[in-house]
Symmetry: C2
Subunit: 322 residues, 2 copies
């Protein structure tokens, strides 16, 4: 324990934070200069930015700093994977109150570092400023390894829709936490620390995915982005979407339809993609729907009908952390 970030000072805190980092071969110049230098082997770099705010995207009484770091990194690295790229690097813009114990940003950095390691990336730089609300702004970079990026706009009528990773676990964990419980732990842990299937993104690109995204706003909402960009309709078959029995049990206990968690819950960062109908998918992909011609129906339907429970709008009136 070294007191607060205010006592450490800007340069002291930066020194502590950077001392915790590890590196990779892709990092040509790490933290400590005006900018970092990262390998971009195929002459392109994939880049994505996300911002997390305390109270809105995480709560310190629900998640440790380490978990916030894991989650913040995962959220951004999943965006890179969802383009079909391999994550290489992460930059951190951090706002911290002066009276925050220095352990908090240190443990945040440990979480960022460890999640980067899972994905094969490294933290290469950042900025720390003093402010009232803890704010974690992350930029992730990635390498397409000579494959074309898989955008949201390439889905074709006749394609299949397939998903890999977890769906609804974070939402179920949130429901548990919001009711004051700390278990079942598997769901609470899934809310605190998502596990995106990073490898599946580049693999899907190699398998010929026509469109891809990670599930951050909810399956229906994120497939809506694909359907809108691709000018198609996507129909999901609810019977093909697995709902674990444990999730059904919690849903019953709290009185909600678990399909709502699976179809609307974001933050698990599953990867969902469309593929030509003759694709041979590895076992961990599950086909859950198909791409159709656009119609008068909404962009995404479930069993042929509109799905009326909306996704998450980050400017809507949330109820605390989500």
């Amino acid at each position: 324990m070294r007191g607060t970030v205010g006592e450490l000072g800007e340069f002291g805190l930066i020194r502590e934070l950077t001392s915790r980092l590890t590196t990779t071969r892709a990092v040509r110049l790490g933290p400590g200069d005006d900018a970092a230098v990262v390998a971009a082997p195929d002459r392109r770099v994939v880049a994505s930015t996300d911002v997390l705010l305390e109270g809105r995207h995480f709560r310190r009484d629900w998640s440790t700093a380490y978990d916030v770091g894991r989650k913040a990194a995962a959220q951004n690295l999943a965006d890179i994977a969802a383009m079909g790229a391999v994550p290489t690097a992460l930059l951190l813009g951090l706002v911290v109150p002066a009276d925050l114990p220095a352990t908090w940003p240190n443990e945040l950095m440990d979480g960022l570092r460890d999640e980067c390691q899972v994905a094969g990336a490294a933290v290469v730089g950042g900025d720390v400023v003093r402010g009232d609300t803890i704010t974690v702004a992350i930029t992730a970079l990635g390498d397409l390894r000579n494959q074309d990026p898989v955008t949201r706009s390439g889905a074709q009528p006749g394609d299949v829709v397939a998903v890999t990773g977890w769906l609804g676990w974070s939402a179920a964990g949130h429901a548990v936490l919001a009711r004051g419980f700390r278990s079942p732990r598997a769901f609470v842990e899934a809310h605190r620390r998502p596990e995106p299937p990073y490898h599946a993104g580049p693999a899907a690109a190699g398998l010929g995915a026509t469109a891809m995204t990670d599930v951050s706003d909810g399956l229906v909402a994120d497939l809506g982005h694909i359907a809108e960009a691709s000018k198609v309709r996507i129909d999901l078959r609810s019977g093909d979407i697995d709902i674990p029995s444990q999730m059904s049990d919690i849903a019953q206990a709290v009185g909600v339809d678990p399909l709502q968690w699976v179809l609307n819950g974001g933050e698990d960062h599953a990867i969902v993609a469309t593929f030509p109908p003759d694709v041979k998918l590895p076992a961990r992909w599950k086909v859950i729907g198909e791409v159709l011609n656009p119609s008068a129906l909404p962009h995404v339907t479930v069993d042929g009908a509109p799905w009326t429970h909306g996704g998450w709008d980050h400017f809507g009136e949330g109820t605390g952390a989500e």
Copy 2:
């Protein structure tokens, strides 16, 4: 006028913001997907992140949203140039209160876009979330064009220290604004909208610069980073540092030593570098000191003596925007 950002909603605001953007040849995939794709012609990418907070780094009553955009972009693009790289792209993480008029982020984006154009770059992506304090987190990317990055650690005893760009103008403008005045406009404008000499960074790399940085914390403080990283002492000759007569006039009017603005004032984003003694520098570079062996004196001295007025620590107790 379309009301507030809360009324527009997340996706509406993102649509407005991205509709204002322009692109360049380096942008392979712009905003609207999980991530952007940017050219990295020499198989490396330079990346840097900075965070600006309302009240701390800008004030809405002193600067328009457009000026904040220009300044936020300039600050980050200057970091790229200070590595010897050409800026290519910028990503924005933006926190805005729901009751903020939508014109504010729109004009911010116009400023980011226009400053990017000055530097040859483009805004390629971002994230917008709702929060209490306007927060502008920027990541800039750049292309080294087959040159080695110029770090802070290569200065050698015997090298000359040279600077290009503006020094002390932003600090003088801040002093004017802090006293409730809005003129002389040249200095107020310099505070609102710095003009980093972007081209000078890659040019200095080509001229054999041994170490380089942009002046963001103040000349003495930033040269201190070079001296520390290079394990040298840097001595500045105050007589070789130009102080414009207008600046002397303001300094006299407000009762400060203008050398303090020039040596401690940050935010103009001049570029300062060390070069081998036989270098032939273009006319816009000014030699202001030399690199010496380390000694018992501080890392940076002025006319051979310690310079006692400190630089800026972002965790220290500031007096409003700086």
